[in-house]
Subunit: 152 residues, 2 copies
DNA sequence: GTCGTAGTTGCAAAGACTTGCAACAGAGAG
DNA sequence: CTCTCTGTTGCAAGTCTTTGCAACTACGAC
């Protein structure tokens, strides 16, 4: 089963644009769906599906977890949303444009963001050797930070 | 929470060596623990915790899932076992030495194994830019294979 | 405005793990 | 061989997420 977050990256800087993009794709704008989108756009960072279902801790009405998961998946297919994993634990969702590439230290848990030039270089290697367009927003790169590596 | 599969890579080509390694670390060799190890060593490829608990479909006695998960975690800490994820779905476990680096196409699900020279080059970039010792056995690299990319 | 039909929803149940806890049993000590 | 101490186990309950399904509703058609 593919991870499934392909699809063109939609430009939807605000909620209205996102809703328009949904309609343009022939998708219905139900109350539950709108709520998920509102949560994603209202959150000030990556949030879990649970948080969306919980209405962002009271700021929005609660909704059924199953619908939340289904809608997050739909929104991801459409390209409005992305989700990623940090080590284990629940997945986190962000607006498509906010996705970042992370590095996690397996030993101390430190998280860093990959910079564009490093990322480009790695992607170039994979493109050259395997004609593969890699994307590092879904899973972090796991390894050991300098500090932890020296201690070994 | 770190992903936790640090620790020296133990040399344990067979079950006996693995059990010796456990004892050397001061860990008990209980029936349940031995069973998990037996399943990992008897399996002909990556297996899920469920399969271990199920006794490899009848070849071994069943065991309690909770103990299986705890033991797999312990064995991973000790360096005898590793687990990885392919997209979503249950994690899969292998002997430490059998861990591989994968590339998964987000669109068609195709899986490829990264070759050593490609891997080394990528690791070198991360080492140079971030002094980070990356390791790609836990999560696959996600992206798009040549075929799927051209269709876009 | 009313109809019809798919796309959607909410519930319930299952799957994949994790955690708390009292009972149990390896492994060294005596 | 027995005792003891502490690592482990098995059960049960709890997360996080997916899936089946009947009821419902958004939205274009009339």
């Amino acid at each position: 089963m593919p991870v499934s977050h392909a699809g063109p990256r939609l430009e939807a800087p605000n909620l209205e644009d996102a809703i328009g993009a949904l309609r343009a794709r022939g998708l219905r704008v139900s109350a539950a769906r709108r709520l998920v989108l509102e949560a994603i756009y209202a959150a000030d960072g990556p949030i879990s599906a649970e948080e969306v279902a919980g209405g962002l801790g009271g700021r929005l009405p609660r909704s059924d977890p199953a619908s939340v998961y289904r809608n997050l998946e739909t929104l991801e297919k459409v390209g409005l949303v992305r989700h990623f994993h940090m080590g284990h634990g629940p997945g986190r969702y962000v607006r498509a444009g906010d996705a970042r590439e992370f590095l996690v230290c397996d030993s101390c848990g430190e998280v860093r963001v990959l910079e564009r030039h490093t990322l480009d270089e790695i992607r170039a290697v994979l493109r050259r050797d395997l004609r593969y367009e890699a994307e590092f927003t879904h899973f972090p790169i796991v390894g050991m930070c300098a500090g932890c590596h020296e201690e070994e």
